[in-house]
């Protein structure tokens, strides 16, 4: 049982070289699928265990922390790990047909290897208890995602990937500088150890600078406004599977890293009270919500539209953290979960459309309601969740976020959050109108509905959007538990 903590990462990680050795598309897909589902199962068991028995610590190499590296899974990590693995498991089901169509045949095995490396890297970030090890996992997932994004068919995938590489590497280097400064002041890299030793030295300029560099570095990875410029193009031009997977997981893991460093390692007292991060996050979150939503309204490429919407959604999460209250942080963590459900569903559905029709601009989307009824219906439901219409998961997120702002009397913020929802209504509805009110393009060939291997994951996520809009024992329960642990009852 204990070993699951390491296997959840090692299995997908080591499946990547296996894929390369197999070098055939079908076996590589199968390997990825099995690895992803194994990790998902492991993540479920781990989360059950840590939520019942408390954090699980696993010393790698048998060296106890802080001398060795340890994995440390607590409810927060387990929760995000569950999101990552669940999305991976579904995306792998979806991937088979989509990848065969979008990726040159002789590179499919390596493509799956890259996908697995992205996945393993993200999973590793959520379980590791060592700050530097987090950096290593971050780089594994980042490098693999640069490659995966660049496999998009449009040449802009290349420039988008390069842009992401530069900004991502700057971010990672900032994180490295930040970790270095913390290490300089404490002599340790272990997160728990850091959290214990930092308060003694927290009143130093070095720690403050380290804090700033870590936050900015994570902000870059998180695509926190105004550091989000890499995201829209990367998501818009990456292959469908990659977009769906990254959109549903990568920024979530960055939010996790932000929570872990800001609230746990530095502590609420330091981060949000001694440093003015709370107000900064609220402010940037709001700007992200408004600018992301506004720009999304004017997009014609649907993947770009949803990518800008992601910028806005990240704003919601960051805003929640910035509220620095139990409710706010609950909302942020909850939205990490719910946003993964909605964006996963939406991007996968768009991938299914792309699989049948080719491109996914508003023009191609005309008449889609008749051409691909099930896929389009999934997009509509996912869109409703994005807007926050009850009874979808998005509604629950909005509820807690608005509750968090109202608790602190931030009326204007609450209204702007809801205004963001209305902007979402506008861009989602542009899509709905195109799908149901415009006739299909005259030259449109008759197409069959997307294959079952695509519809099943899409609708699983759609169903999850509704389920977690009604029954929130798990999603809200865990989120609020984590928030209590992080912020403390008083906040």
């Amino acid at each position: 049982m204990d070993h699951l903590a390491v296997l959840v990462v090692i299995v997908p990680l080591m499946s990547a070289p296996v894929c390369v050795l197999l070098d055939r598309s079908r076996p590589a897909w199968l390997t990825s699928l099995v690895a992803a589902w194994f990790s998902f199962g492991a993540a479920v068991m781990l989360l059950l265990r840590v939520s019942a028995e408390g954090p699980l610590r696993y010393s790698l190499g048998g060296w106890e922390a802080p001398w060795g590296i340890e994995f440390r899974i607590d409810v927060l990590g387990g929760y995000v790990l569950l999101i990552v693995t669940a999305v991976a498991a579904l995306v792998m089901v979806f991937a088979r047909h989509s990848v065969e169509q979008e990726i040159p045949h002789d590179r499919i095995a390596r493509f799956y290897a890259a996908l697995l490396l992205v996945f393993a890297g993200l999973a590793g970030i959520t379980v590791t208890g060592d700050a530097f090890n987090l950096f290593v996992f971050l780089e594994i997932s980042s490098l693999a995602s640069y490659a995966a994004i660049s496999m998009g068919r449009d040449r802009r995938a290349l420039s988008a990937s390069f842009q992401y590489l530069v900004m991502g590497t700057i971010g990672a280097t900032f994180i490295l500088i930040g970790i270095g400064m913390l290490y300089m002041m404490t002599g340790t890299l272990n997160m728990i150890d850091l959290a214990a030793r930092l308060p003694e030295v927290s009143d130093s300029r070095t720690v403050r600078a380290g804090f700033a560099f870590l936050t900015v570095g994570i902000g870059l990875k998180l695509a926190l406004f105004p550091l989000h410029l890499w995201l829209p193009n990367a998501y818009a031009y990456a292959p469908s599977t990659v977009t769906a997977f990254l959109a549903a997981t990568a920024t979530k893991v960055a939010v996790y890293a932000l929570l872990r460093f800001v609230l746990e390692i530095f502590g609420v007292e330091f981060s949000l009270h001694a440093m003015p991060l709370d107000r900064i996050l609220v402010f940037l979150g709001l700007l992200g919500i408004l600018s992301g939503s506004l720009v999304a309204v004017f997009q014609r490429d649907l993947k770009r539209m949803l990518a800008y919407s992601s910028v806005a959604q990240i704003g919601y999460m960051v805003l929640g953290i910035g509220l620095a209250s139990v409710t706010g942080v609950t909302a942020a963590i909850l939205h990490v979960f719910n946003h993964a459900l909605m964006k996963g569903a939406l991007f996968l559905a768009l991938g299914a459309v792309a699989y049948r029709v080719g491109a996914v601009t508003l023009r191609e989307f005309a008449g889609m309601g008749q051409r691909l009824p099930w896929t389009t219906a999934a997009i509509v439901l996912g869109g409703l969740s994005l807007i926050g219409v009850p009874p979808t998961a998005g509604f629950v997120s909005k509820w807690y976020l608005v509750l968090g702002t109202l608790e602190q009397g931030l009326w204007l913020v609450a209204m702007l959050v809801l205004f963001g929802s209305l902007l979402a209504l506008i861009y989602v509805w542009k899509l709905v109108e195109a799908a149901y009110f415009k006739p299909p393009p005259a030259n449109a060939a008759a197409v069959a509905e997307a294959p079952l291997s695509m519809l099943v994951p899409v609708w699983t996520l759609v169903a999850a959007n509704i389920y977690f809009g009604l029954y929130t024992d798990v999603s809200v329960g865990l989120a609020s538990r984590v928030a209590h642990d992080l912020v403390g009852g008083g906040g």
Partner: protein, 494 residues
Amino acid sequence: MTGELQLLLILLVPMLGALAVLAASPLPNVREGVSFVIGILLFLLVASLAADLSWDAPPTLVLAEPIQGLQLVLTPEPLGVLFALIASLLWPITTIYAMGYMRDHHEVNQTRFFTAFAVSIGSAMGIAMAGNMLTLFVFYEILSVATYPLVTHRGSVEAKRAGRLYLGLLMATSIGFMLPAMIWTWHLTGTLTFTPGGIFGPEVSSGVLSLLLLLFVLGTGKAALMPFHRWLPAAMVAPTPVSALLHAVAVVKAGVFTVLKVAVYLFGIDTLASIAAADVLMVLAGFTILMASVIALRKDNLKARLAYSTISQLSYIVLGAMLGVAAGAVGAGMHIAMHAFGKITLFFCAGAILVTAHKSRVSELNGIGRRMPWTMAAFAVGAVSMIGAPPVAGFISKWYLLMGSLDASHWFAVGVIVVSTALNTAYFMPIVYAAFFKPEDAPAISGQDDHDHPDHGEASWPMRGALMLTATLAILVFFFPGVPLALVQQMAGL
């Protein structure tokens, strides 16, 4: 059958019915048969629930718990039962009417129509039985989304525009105003359960209460209070059965029902009397009543005139709710019921005229009463009900509203009711007069309409049957108002 099971069935029957309709899509007769049978079944269920109910210990059905500590829960209370009774009674009748209308009018996508119809009724049931504000809100939003395909049924550019306005206004108000009001209330009181007498303690300042009341009432876009009324006339592009559903059965009724629920069960009638915003809203309602009536007077399109009439009639209910006296609430509750019978009759008539005679303007109706006597007789009944004269349903509710206004010594309200009655008469009676007493115009100028039907007779039987049935009901409740009155008085605590 336990009360919980009844509640569950009331929600499930229309929802599963929607699936059955979808499944029966290739067989129109079966499909519509299913719709009708489900409608009857639903009415019987609601009626049996109402008959078995004990107000002291109503059954409670918990559906889910989306917010920690805040459940989706169904609990019947008198006003909700009344709303459910009316909606479930009028639904099968509308279904009969729709069968005739949709076929005679050669509408497409009928399966989608009947499916969305069933989902809408299911949502209306959810609204009616909601045990707390969250539940109401959830079904309120589902209703908005489910009626969207009905409003945009034609798929034309105009329909799309109307749909945009419809959904945009309803969503903007509900997300922008009602949702924050709800969350704030939850933050202040820790509950959203509908409780007789209200949930706000004395610690909540009256300024906050004022703001909340404004947010709640303005957030209820479905109540079509000015300036958030534009969606209603725009939605007239939809087929007539949809208009009937929107105006009489589900949508606007859900709106004013929400206002009344908020007034009675969240704020409490007594608290309401002390809130400044109630007076503001009353003035707004009064303004809406008069303004909409004036606009109705100037509309030549029959359905548009009916739409503005609805806007005006809805504000009676808001007015009654805001009076802050029990009689006002009774009047408001009664008006939900009474207006439904009259207005549905009017819409059925308008649709019948459109389908049969291909006429949609008031100015074209001269002498039509001779060709369509039953239809226009029913129209006359509906019109009298709108005016509020005996012996038709509308009289009763207007009576209570007037009593309430006098009770509260609200002379403004009294004045509004009196003036608006005059206005109602002014825009309805000429139609009735023209239909029966003016000579028929020469056949319309050629080319105006492709299918001119100079020799049309009465509407087809499903339509005629439906509209006569509702007209009869409108008269019957005047003489036997016992059930609705008892329910409403129970609500008002009288």
